[in-house]
């Protein structure tokens, strides 16, 4: 009996939290808990407040291919910028980490958008001065991984 009452209280609490959350997220009517378990979304948190009207080119260049949402991050950590491919689907960890999945371009665009919003420009490293690079298998593998690293990630 007690447990039923407790469950009821939790359910009410959850409804309240959902209502508050969806009020904070103007782009969604679905409760965020379902958005979170929906595999298609990639996210970065950016420090200043941003809204959908002022998103920078690395993201807007992807046009209608992607759906973008923003909502305030917990504890004043800024704004959560979330995006997904409209014709969705998320690849396995190996393809994600190696940046060979369909979302790779979106992952890189989110990271670049974050830099434009926070710093004003996208950081470049190449060309960096270096000496002779022999074509060893390990060296070529590292080069390939480095080239993929701006697009690859855990999500």
């Amino acid at each position: 009996m007690t447990s039923t009452r407790a469950d009821g209280a939790v359910a009410v609490g959850e409804r309240v939290v959902r209502r508050v959350r969806s009020a904070l997220d103007p782009m969604t009517t679905a409760p965020p808990s379902s958005a979170r378990s929906d595999p298609g979304w990639l996210a970065v948190t950016v420090l200043p407040d941003v809204d959908l009207e002022t998103l920078p080119p690395p993201l807007t260049d992807l046009g209608d291919e992607v759906e973008v949402r923003v909502r305030p991050a917990a504890g004043g950590k800024g704004t959560e910028l979330r995006a997904r491919l409209r014709d969705g689907g998320s690849a396995g960890p190996v393809r994600r980490l190696s940046g060979t999945d369909r979302e790779a371009r979106l992952r890189a665009a989110l990271r670049e958008a974050k830099q434009v919003i926070e710093v004003g420009e996208v950081l470049r490293v190449d060309p960096a001065p270096h000496g002779e690079r022999p074509s060893t298998p390990a060296g070529l593998l590292l080069e390939a991984w480095t080239r993929a690293a701006p697009r690859g990630g855990v999500r």
């Binding site: 974050k114 000496g131 690079r133």
Partner: protein, 391 residues
């Protein structure tokens, strides 16, 4: 231009590389005055951090003169004498605003590599593998410095090049350890490792009010520097039973704060060394955590243990039981130099922080391979080999 490069495991070269150019508005080019070897380079040299490509320019601890500035740089002008923090941090993301600069979200253009290793990426570091950004290092006449307004600091006129150099990496790393480990007045602090980083951690702990600071190593010349240049006490781990000696010093309690400044290639006199080394070479563990284990055993109940030494991946035989049951706080960090450099430079100017004794061997870039060999083997009392690129 000439540069000291990584050619392969335990193979350092000197070769011709292109000069750097400004690629971002917030960049500047620094004409390198002095550039030091660091214990972190030894981990790259030994192949323990695998994301090095033959031809990569080494070096991340440096100072020099501004040679060119990008249109977005406001703090510096051509001709300024500057010291540059080894980490590349944007200054604007949430982590930078929390003054946890080495955790910068934006300073590493290759975030996928460290995300795969650690679940999240951290900031970048000059000359420190493609995992930390692929930035060219400072053992060269010129270096490109991104986010120049954030990472470069003007050196006061009364601070010499040899002193300012170590405000780039060794000193702010020591400050990061002592401060983030929570050193305060009355603390007894033990520091494992008497290299540049351990010495600076000891000095920082003294400045932050520690009542007693003890540095542990086995090289007499380094321990001698600790006593004469830093003003801390010493223990030789080949002669003393370290945990027993620390218990005795502290009336049986153990040190309040234990700072580990040794890293993943720690040495140990016992049979466990062979075990750790064999496992590391077979890649069953990536790092040898000898000093961290000892710090955890020695620390007082409820005390704080800080790993300043660099670790890359997995360690074996980690005394988690001691951490949990003794209610220890265990933390680590790459240096948050941007936060500490202004204070360090001020104290250098007042003579409260002296570092020139760390530069035991100053040489030209042509001597790069010899310098690294001397530093690695601790030949001739080498504490840090320092290169003078315009010799």
């Amino acid at each position: 231009m000439k540069a000291v490069t990584w050619r392969g495991v335990n193979e350092i070269g000197v070769e011709d590389v292109p000069e750097p150019t400004i690629l971002n508005d917030h960049d500047m080019i620094v004409e390198v005055g002095l550039s030091a070897t660091c214990g972190s380079d030894l981990h790259l040299m030994g192949g323990y951090i695998p994301a090095m490509r033959a031809g990569d320019v080494l070096g991340h601890e440096f100072m020099g003169t501004v040679a060119a500035v990008g249109p977005g740089v406001t703090k510096h002008r051509v001709g300024d004498r500057v010291v540059v923090v080894s980490f590349t941090s944007c200054g604007h993301c949430w982590y930078c605003r929390q003054e946890l600069y080495s955790l910068c979200d934006n300073g590493n253009p290759n975030p996928g590599i460290t995300e795969a290793l650690w679940g999240q990426s951290i900031g970048g570091c000059f000359g420190y593998s493609h995992a930390l950004g692929g930035w060219a290092g400072s053992h060269a006449p010129y270096i490109r410095v991104p986010y120049a307004d954030q990472g470069a600091f003007t050196v006061p006129a009364d601070v010499s090049d040899e002193r300012a150099l170590f405000a780039s990496d060794a000193a702010p790393t020591g400050w990061t350890g002592a401060h983030q480990a929570g050193v305060g007045p009355g603390d007894v602090v033990a520091v494992w490792g008497g290299g540049g980083v351990g010495q600076m951690a000891a000095r920082a702990a003294m400045i932050m009010g520690a009542e007693q600071v003890v540095v542990i190593d086995r090289y007499e010349n380094r321990l001698d520097q600790v006593r004469t240049q830093i003003g801390a006490e010493t223990l030789d781990y080949e002669q003393d039973d370290v945990p027993a000696a620390l218990r005795e010093i502290t009336g049986g309690r153990g040190p309040d704060v234990c700072i580990e400044a040794v890293g993943m290639e720690a040495h140990s006199p016992g049979p466990q060394y062979l075990y750790d080394q064999a496992k590391q070479q077979l890649r069953l563990q990536t790092d040898r955590p000898t000093a961290v284990r000892e710090a955890i055993y020695a620390c007082r109940k409820g005390g704080s243990v800080f790993t300043l030494g660099v670790f890359a991946g997995l360690v074996d035989k980690f005394p988690l039981g001691a951490v949990m049951n003794k209610a220890l706080t265990l933390r680590g960090a790459q240096q948050h130099g941007h936060r500490y450099v202004p204070e360090i430079l001020e104290r250098m100017s007042r003579g409260e922080v002296r570092t020139e004794h760390l530069a035991t061997h100053v040489m030209s870039l042509d001597d790069g391979p010899a310098g690294y060999r001397m530093f690695k083997e601790k030949e001739d009392g080498c504490v840090r080999a320092v290169f003078h690129p315009h010799d």
